[in-house]
Amino acid sequence: MQVVKLSLKKANKIPIEADNANPDNFAGKTAEEIGAIPVWYGNGQCPLGDLFNVEVEGSGSVENTKIVFEGDVSRVKRIGQNMSAGEIEINGNVDMHCGFGMKGGKVVINGDADSWLGCEMAGGEIILNGNASYYVGSGYRGESCGMRGGKITVNGNTKDYLGEHMCGGEILVKGDAGLLPAISNNGGKIVIEGSATMPASEMKNGTVIIKGEVFDLLPSYKEEEGTEEVEGVTYRKFTGDVNVGGKGVLLIK
């Protein structure tokens, strides 16, 4: 087991782009080696060690590597980008694109996450013990496929466009979900325990379950006869989006 502890030397406004900060790059490396990994800061690059205190305990394979960010990293972007295994624990707020394109492993955030959490994620798990901003589990601008696999759990609320263009995987939001969650869903499963506005616009495929209040249900869903029961809860069943010939299922109370 290898544990890498990172803490910022001083708070920053200009974001640090830590796309190299993942278990794949850290496994088996010493504190010096990790400190020498370049990161982008504004319009220049500098060694990670110039910005972070780096402590390493033990040595391990990627699967056995855990990275712990201590304190606020709300201006550190792309933590865990493309990671394939291992674990990242963030004890504070985290900036945009955390877990972008991740393929495996686990990210636990004990704080809030900025936009694009788990964007284009293909596998693994993200647990957010706080609130998320926009575009959780979505895709990059212009991309037709967002999150493809894995699971994201948000124990707080999210802002708008949750799971935009999702084509696989699962998102669970314990709180409210803002505007247009599950827009253009194409095969993902989204469960929102709180409220949502205009859910599942242009859903082609997949399942969206909303336990709380739904505002402004879009006039492109057909209510099916009867009700559907999921885990002991009874829902009204809607199918659509009719405008994309959708076979998606929208369950609301």
Partner: protein, 572 residues
């Protein structure tokens, strides 16, 4: 005076019938010359294949491509051909680069140059939006540029044809080329653009255009007559009706036949048919869709009045863009894709739709095969121009990959092995064993272009020609393209040297210098009285129908980078 001596080059120059002979090439002040002084800089090209700079005679590289960039920002980071795609940071010598199918202007220039290409022809300039095309030309470094202006659904053109005013029609074409600073006459789905103004299309050569009482066949013949009357350097350049539809090979052959009676006014073809792959489909629907290439090739083999280009498909993502508005709408609906459309008042239509060619799709597999079948079944390489209709069939950065398909049956078999039986049943490619040699490849990528565009200074290494030269690190006779296709691809992917007007712009596959290229346009002379009569008609068009004034319609001189005016004398 700058002089260069390229020594011991293995020269392949079909225009002179030189087939991989070892010789020296002398350059002075940007031109190829007989000899140079002892002060000349010496480049040792021993063991290296040396050709004229490549010439892409049909590419979408300025204007409409911007819509493609705009709607697909996700193309920017695509790095499917390393070294020739994706995001590249700026350097002291080069601007920042992005993209694969729709690279930014700088990347277009650098990447063509890396492939040894030095001239491109933009395939579609809408007259009204021509200024935009030239603005992009200015930002494409290194390459010489020219473009074809769209006339196929133009109100004034259709009216003159309907009213049987061939002289005024020719005068209008001359004026339109001048207004748009175009090099030649492009006809896209004749009449279809106007029909698309009402959400409709024309169904074939004899289906009249709504409200204008002319047929696509009449438009084609009228424009061909005007083209020859003006003695333009290029023939009409035709994108046939019914593009992309099963069974369209018949329309294509019918179109080709129409031109048998057109007498070219210069030593070139009277018809160029473009991206024929998209127009060589047999069958009656997508269910019984199959190759129509053998029929088209058969006809072409017996014809001597025409040239064509391939529109070869490359598997992976592509970005389709064409003035054929109804085709793009149909594509978007069928594929559930994004759809951009831009109809141009009084003139034409256009659309842009991204798509993905998959070897697993039997339709896409057959499309891929059709392009190659056309290239290999047509016996005379001088009738064939190699293109992917970039980026419609795929990005130009895949040309080296496509060359291996043309040069190696083994390579083709490798690709074909991934096709379904259904696909194999619908193509004839597996039975074709022809493999192109370097000489034939040079014909299809350089020499044909020089001839068909009447550009004697391009596409060859004759004394007096522009010193646009590509030197590739591969030696014919010492490599067997049939089996060593990986070497072929590598050599063509990054030229050892690319010379542009005698300047080394690429060395060992990297950009050395980024000079500005020239812009070619055609100024056809028309008798004053005919021009005056014609101007009266278009003045009325501007007064009543256009939303810009005539004065602001003409592309001003300042938009042309290093302009080269090609004058022709109209015969009236």
């Amino acid at each position: 005076m700058s002089e260069i001596l390229i020594k011991n080059a293995s020269v392949c120059d079909p225009a002179q019938g030189i087939n991989c002979e070892t010789m020296d090439i002398c350059i002075r002040d940007g031109k190829i010359v007989d000899s140079v002084s002892e002060n000349a800089k010496v480049i040792d090209a021993e063991g290296k294949l040396t050709m004229a700079g490549g010439f892409d005679g049909h590419t979408h590289s300025a204007g409409k491509i911007n819509v493609g960039r705009f709607m697909n920002p996700n193309d920017a980071k695509k790095n499917l051909v390393p070294g020739l795609s994706g995001q590249v940071a700026r350097t002291e010598k080069t601007r920042a680069q992005v993209g694969y199918n729709t690279p930014n202007t700088y990347a277009i220039g650098y990447r063509y140059a890396k492939l040894g290409y030095t001239t491109i022809c933009e395939a579609a300039i809408p007259l009204l939006a021509a200024r935009h095309t030239h603005e992009e030309f200015k930002e494409i470094p290194i390459l010489d540029k020219m473009g074809l202006s769209l006339f196929g659904s133009n109100w004034q053109v259709m009216e003159y044809i309907r009213d049987k005013e061939p002289e005024k029609l020719a005068a209008y074409i001359a004026w339109g080329l001048k207004a748009s600073r175009g090099y030649g006459v492009k006809i896209v789905n004749p009449g279809g653009g106007e029909a698309w103004g009402w959400g409709k299309n024309v169904s074939g050569l004899y289906d009249p255009v709504p409200n204008f009482d002319v047929t696509p066949a009449e438009i084609l013949m009228g424009l061909a007559e005007a083209n020859e009357r003006l003695q333009l350097p290029h023939s009409v350049h035709v994108h046939c009706n019914n593009l992309g539809k099963p069974g369209n090979y018949a329309t294509t052959i019918e179109t080709m036949k129409l031109f048998e009676k057109v007498k070219p006014s210069r030593d070139r073809q009277s018809l160029h048919v473009t991206h024929v792959q998209f127009n060589a489909y047999a069958g009656t629907s997508w269910r019984d869709f199959e190759t129509g290439a053998p029929m088209v090739a058969d006809y072409v083999n017996g014809a001597d009045h025409m040239t064509f280009d391939l529109g070869q498909v490359i598997f992976g993502p592509a970005m389709t863009m064409t003035a054929d508005g109804p085709v793009e709408y149909a594509n978007a609906r069928m594929l559930h894709e994004k759809w951009s459309n831009q109809d141009i008042e009084l003139e034409d239509a256009s659309g842009v739709v991204p798509l993905f060619y998959s070897p697993k799709s039997f339709v896409n597999a057959v499309q891929w095969a059709i392009g190659l079948e056309l290239a290999l079944l047509v016996k005379d390489p001088w009738k064939v121009m190699f293109t992917t209709d970039s980026p419609n069939g795929g990005s130009f950065v895949n040309y080296p990959e496509a060359f291996t398909y043309l040069m190696s049956e083994k390579r083709r078999a490798e690709v074909i092995s991934g096709f379904s039986k259904m696909a194999l049943d619908r193509m004839v490619l597996p039975g074709i064993d022809r493999e192109l040699d370097f000489y034939e490849l040079a014909v299809m990528t350089r020499s044909t272009q020089s001839k068909m565009y009447s550009m004697p200074e391009k596409g060859n290494l004759k004394v007096g020609s522009d010193a646009d030269i590509a030197i590739y690190d591969i030696l014919p006779g010492h490599v067997d393209p049939s089996t060593e296709y990986a070497k072929v691809k590598k050599a063509f992917s990054g030229a050892a040297y690319t010379f542009k007007n005698g300047e080394i712009v690429v060395k060992d596959g990297e950009i050395e210098e980024t000079p500005k290229g020239k812009t070619y346009w055609v100024n056809a002379k028309v008798p004053e009285n005919i021009d005056t009569a014609m101007q009266k008609d278009i003045d009325r068009k501007f007064r009543k129908y256009y939303t810009v004034s005539k004065a602001n319609y003409m592309v001003e001189d300042m938009y042309l980078q290093k302009p080269v005016e090609i004058g022709t004398e109209g015969v009236f």
